[in-house]
């Protein structure tokens, strides 16, 4: 489970870094995919996994003005 949280923290950091360095966004996608896979392997509860995905998403979008 700790591995899932570490990957979440890594994705958040990459999402924040993506504000300045575009390559961090690509790495963030890879980290997000790894996070999902790790959560599925470990059997993380759905609500926990959703929070683990939403937190980096907010980090990527904050502040308002980010355009997909």
């Amino acid at each position: 489970m700790i591995f899932v949280y570490l990957l979440t923290a890594l994705t958040v950091l990459l999402a924040l870094a993506a504000h300045r360095w575009p390559v961090a966004a690509a790495l963030g996608m890879a980290a997000g995919a790894a996070l999902l896979l790790a959560a599925l392997v470990v059997g993380t509860p759905t609500r926990t996994l959703l929070l683990c995905l939403l937190v980096p998403c907010v980090a990527a979008l904050w502040p308002k003005g980010g355009r997909p």
Partner: protein
């Protein structure tokens, strides 16, 4: 057809791909086949009714255009109105008048009867030439993104788009679809768990629980219905059709009049164009204005369901709107100074009205109101927080924040961090979708029942 059903989620990309591969002049055939197929999959029993109303209104519009006298035109219009409203009345309101029948409510009947009736009225008024191609007309009635729960499209806006051979895919449709799924799966369905628990036993609810459930329901129904509308708008955009917006941040309304310009816009516009203005609109005396307003809101309440609490919900909105107009006319500076306070007052009034909408009956609504003022103790607050749960609360806050931060459309150049957010949100929505399917807890959209 529920938009969260696997057949829709997995079938939509295939339909979009096929649509753009086909020659433009045959695209309508594919869209019509898919639309009728989706409808038949969801409610096969109601399929003949959809066909009957389609053929009936198609013929009525042609006869109106052919008729030479105004009387003949009016007779055909009345025939179409009797057909549409008669079917609606029989299937939706038979129980209300004690007919003793329990007919299955056909999916989307409230929406497509209004859309087809609007089309016939437009032809009668001479605003539109009747559609002579039965295929295009059938597609106008049954277009799959908006058949079951709107938006109720104006024929003038939708029919030309269905015929347009040069239509182009609007890629922002994907963003709309993602917003819709996030609203439905991450927010509305999460809020529904707490709301359903409180409203199932209103007499057992404490004050904090009743208040939180009422506020959460206001958001639940917004996320649910606007989520549906976003998916509809997005799916239509991906096949080159632009549907009208059904919501415009309704809880940012600074008055009730403003709220009704932002909530379920297509239905409000339908009632305004085809009922309110013919009745005299607002350019008449005070008494007539009050009667017209109440008629519209009571009809709007009745449209939502054949139950007294829906009519009361409409009536409460009508009365509050009249009170707002009266205060405006008297020149009272009733509004609080700040925009925030205006929005807060409007939101509180809307929430109070939602109690009648959500409660199973008027007596349940009264029970909720009475419970609002009881049990404001620390243990009750603690129990309410525990019942909602930390994780669902965090999910609601984070999900709502993501929606707020997401751009309204993708007209600007995408940024890397925006693409990352889009991917993460897609993963989150997909996770919630799989989890709901696996657990069998996928809820139908609230407005599907209307």
């Amino acid at each position: 057809m529920n938009f969260t059903a696997p057949a829709f989620v997995l079938g939509l990309p295939l339909v979009i791909a096929l649509h753009w591969v086909m020659p433009p002049r045959w695209r309508w055939v594919l869209l019509l086949a898919v639309s009728l197929g989706f409808y038949a999959l969801g409610s096969a029993q109601a399929f003949p009714l959809l066909m009957g109303i389609t053929l009936g209104t198609y013929a009525a519009a042609l006869f109106i255009a052919k008729s030479k006298t105004q009387t003949a035109k009016r007779i055909w219009l009345i025939c179409a109105a009797v057909l549409c409203l008669g079917c609606l009345g029989v299937f939706k309101y038979a129980g209300l008048f004690g007919a003793g029948t329990s007919l299955l409510l056909p999916a989307g009947i409230s929406f497509y009867t209004f859309q087809t009736l609007g089309y016939v009225i437009d032809v009668y008024r001479g605003r539109l030439a009747p559609e002579r191609h039965l295929g295009y007309y059938a597609l106008f009635v049954s277009f799959f993104p908006q058949l079951v729960a709107g938006p109720i499209e104006r024929s003038i806006a939708l029919l030309p788009q269905l015929r347009d051979p040069d239509s182009r895919m609007d890629a922002s449709g994907w963003l709309y679809i993602l917003r819709g799924f996030v609203k439905k799966l991450l927010l509305a369905d999460t809020a529904a768990v707490f709301v359903d628990a409180v409203y199932a036993a209103p007499s057992a609810a404490s004050g904090p629980a009743a208040l939180l459930a009422t506020v959460l329901f206001a958001w639940q129904i917004y996320w649910d219905f606007s989520g549906y509308s976003d998916i509809a708008v997005g799916a239509a955009a991906l096949v080159g059709v632009q549907l009208s917006r059904n919501f415009d941040h309704p809880y940012r309304a600074a008055s009730l009049r403003d709220f009704w310009h932002r909530w379920h816009i297509s239905l409000t516009r339908w009632f305004t164009d085809y009922v309110y203005i013919p009745l005299g609109g607002s350019r008449c005396g005070a008494v007539r204005l009050a009667v017209n307003t109440m008629v519209i809101f009571l009809l709007s309440g009745l449209w939502h369901g054949a139950a007294l609490h829906f009519v009361v919900w409409g009536g409460v909105h009508g009365v509050l709107l009249l009170a707002e107009r009266l205060l405006d006319r008297l020149g009272h500076d009733r509004r609080p100074a700040s925009l925030f306070a205006q929005r807060a007052v409007t939101f509180a009034l809307v929430c109070a009205a939602w109690v009648f909408f959500r409660a199973g009956s008027v007596s349940d609504a009264r029970m909720i109101f009475s419970r609002l003022f009881t049990g404001w103790t620390l243990p009750a607050l603690h129990t309410t927080a525990l019942t909602l749960g930390v994780q669902p609360a965090a999910q609601l806050v984070l999900g709502a924040l993501c929606l707020h931060l997401l751009p309204e459309d993708s007209s600007d150049t995408p940024t890397p961090r925006g693409v990352l957010a889009f991917c993460l949100l897609t993963l989150a929505a997909a996770t919630a979708w799989f989890a709901a399917l696996h657990a069998g807890t996928a809820n139908a959209f609230i407005y599907f029942q209307f």
